[in-house]
C-alpha cells in the first residue's frame, strides 16, 4: 500500500500526461485518489504550518488544519462545475474521471507547496513582514496552481477547447476558493495578536470585500453591511480585538 502510494506520487510529479490518461481511462481510480488525497493533506498541512511560524503557538496547529480543509472544501464544491463545463463545451468526461483529475492536480500542487515550505519558512524566519509574507504565500499558491494546470489541461484535452474549459473552470474555482479561504481565516496570524482564534468572526465576504475595494478605488467609501449571520462558536471578532491591528 505504502509502496504503491509512493509510486503514484512519483508519477504525479514526473509524468502528468500519464496520470491524466489514467484518469480518463478509469483504470481503478482508488489508488490514485488515495495517493492524491494524502499528498493534498500532507502538502497543504505542511505549508499551512509553515505560514503560521511567524505567529507560532496554537496558530501552527490551526493553519496546518485549515489550509488542507480549505482545499478539500473547495474541491468538493467545484468538481461538479468542471464536469458540467466539460460536458457543455463538448468534452464530456465521467464524474469519476473528473474527480480523479482534479484531485490529482490538487495533489501535484500540494506537493509543490510542500517543496516550497522550507523556502517560505526561511523567509519568515528572516523576519519578513506580515504583508510580505502574504504576498510570498500568494506567489507560492500561483506557482503550485501552474503545476496543477498542466495536469488538468492534459486531462481535459490538450486543445483550444480544453484551454477554454479550464479558463471557464478558473472563473468558478477562484471565487469559490477565495470565499472558502475567507471563511476559514486567519491562516498567518499577526504576531501582535494576544489570542489566537480558530476562525475570525464573519466579516461580510470575499466578494463583498472586493466590491467595497472596487468602490473605494473610485473614491466611493461605504461601510460594510451589518452581518446577519451569527458567529461560529470559538470565533472572535476582528473589530473587537484591538491587538489584531497591525
Amino acid at each position: 500500500m505504502f509502496q504503491e502510494t509512493v509510486q503514484v506520487l512519483e508519477r504525479l510529479l514526473r509524468s502528468p500526461s500519464q496520470i491524466a490518461k489514467h484518469c480518463a481511462a478509469d483504470e481503478d481510480p482508488r489508488a490514485l485518489f488515495l495517493a492524491s488525497l494524502c499528498a493534498t493533506l500532507l502538502g497543504a498541512a505542511a505549508f499551512g504550518g509553515v505560514l503560521a511560524t511567524s505567529r507560532g503557538g496554537l496558530q501552527l496547529l490551526y493553519s496546518a488544519t485549515k489550509v488542507p480543509l480549505a482545499l478539500v472544501i473547495t474541491l468538493v464544491l467545484v468538481v461538479p462545475a468542471l464536469h458540467g463545463l466539460a460536458a457543455s463545451l463538448g468534452q464530456p468526461l465521467r464524474l469519476s474521471a473528473v474527480v480523479s483529475l482534479v484531485l490529482a492536480a490538487t495533489g501535484r500542487a500540494a506537493l509543490v507547496l510542500l517543496a516550497l515550505s522550507p523556502v517560505v519558512w526561511l523567509a519568515l524566519d528572516r523576519g519578513i513582514g506580515y504583508h510580505s509574507s502574504v504576498l510570498l504565500a500568494a506567489a507560492c499558491y500561483a506557482l503550485a496552481g501552474l503545476s496543477a494546470l498542466g495536469l488538468l489541461w492534459h486531462g481535459v484535452g490538450k486543445s483550444l477547447r480544453g484551454a477554454f474549459v479550464i479558463a471557464c473552470f478558473g472563473l468558478v474555482l477562484v471565487p469559490t476558493g477565495a470565499q472558502t479561504a475567507w471563511l476559514l481565516r486567519p491562516f498567518i496570524g499577526r504576531p501582535a495578536q494576544a489570542r489566537v482564534p480558530f476562525l475570525r468572526h464573519r466579516e461580510s465576504s470575499f466578494a463583498d470585500a472586493m466590491y467595497l475595494s472596487a468602490l473605494s478605488s473610485q473614491g466611493i467609501y461605504r461601510a460594510p453591511e451589518p452581518n446577519s449571520h451569527p458567529a461560529p462558536r470559538g470565533a472572535t471578532n476582528l473589530a473587537d480585538d484591538a491587538e489584531e491591528a497591525p
Partner: protein, 198 residues
Amino acid sequence: MTESDVALFRGVEAAYSARLTALELPDRADEWRRFASGLALTSVYGLALGARSGGTSLLRHALGAPAALLAVSALAVPALFVVLALIDAPVTLPKTLSATARASASTGLLLAGLAPASALLVVTIDSDQVASVVTRLTLILAGTLGGLPLLSGIYEEVRRAPTGTRLKSVLLLCGFALFAGALSARIWSALLPILGGA
C-alpha cells in the same frame, strides 16, 4: 423501447453527460427526455439559489430558474425558425428541436454543476447586491455556454445555403442570441427573488 433505446439508457456506467450532449438522438421521445432533463437540472441550481433564504424561496427559485429556458424554447426558437424559413434557409424542424433540446441539457448540466459552489456563495455572502451580481454572472456564463449548441446546431444546417442566405441567417442568429439573452434576463429578473424578482 427499442434495442437502441435500451442500449442508449443502459446502466449507470455509461456517460450520462455524453448522452445528454450528443449531437442528435435517434427518436423524438429521446429529445423530449433530454429537454426535460435540462429543465430538471436547472431546477437543482434554482434550489441552490433558494438556499439563501430557505423555506418557500427554495421552491420559487427551483421553478423560476428553468422558466427562462422554457420561454426561450417556446417563444424565441419558433420565431427564429419562422424567420429562417422566410429567407429560405435550409433548416428543418427535427434538427431545430434537437438543437434546442441539446442546448437545454447543456445549460442544465452546467447550472447543476455550478449549484454546490453557488449554494456556498449565496449563503455566505452577506450583501444582497453582491449575491445578486454573483448569481447574474453565473447565469450569464451558463446561458452563454449552454446556448452555443443551439446556435451551432442551426448554423450547421444553414451552412449549406447559398452565400446570401447564409449571411442573412448568421445575422439572424446573432439577433436571436441577443433576443434570447434579453428574454432570459427579463424572465430571471422577474421570477428569481435573489435578483429582486417576485
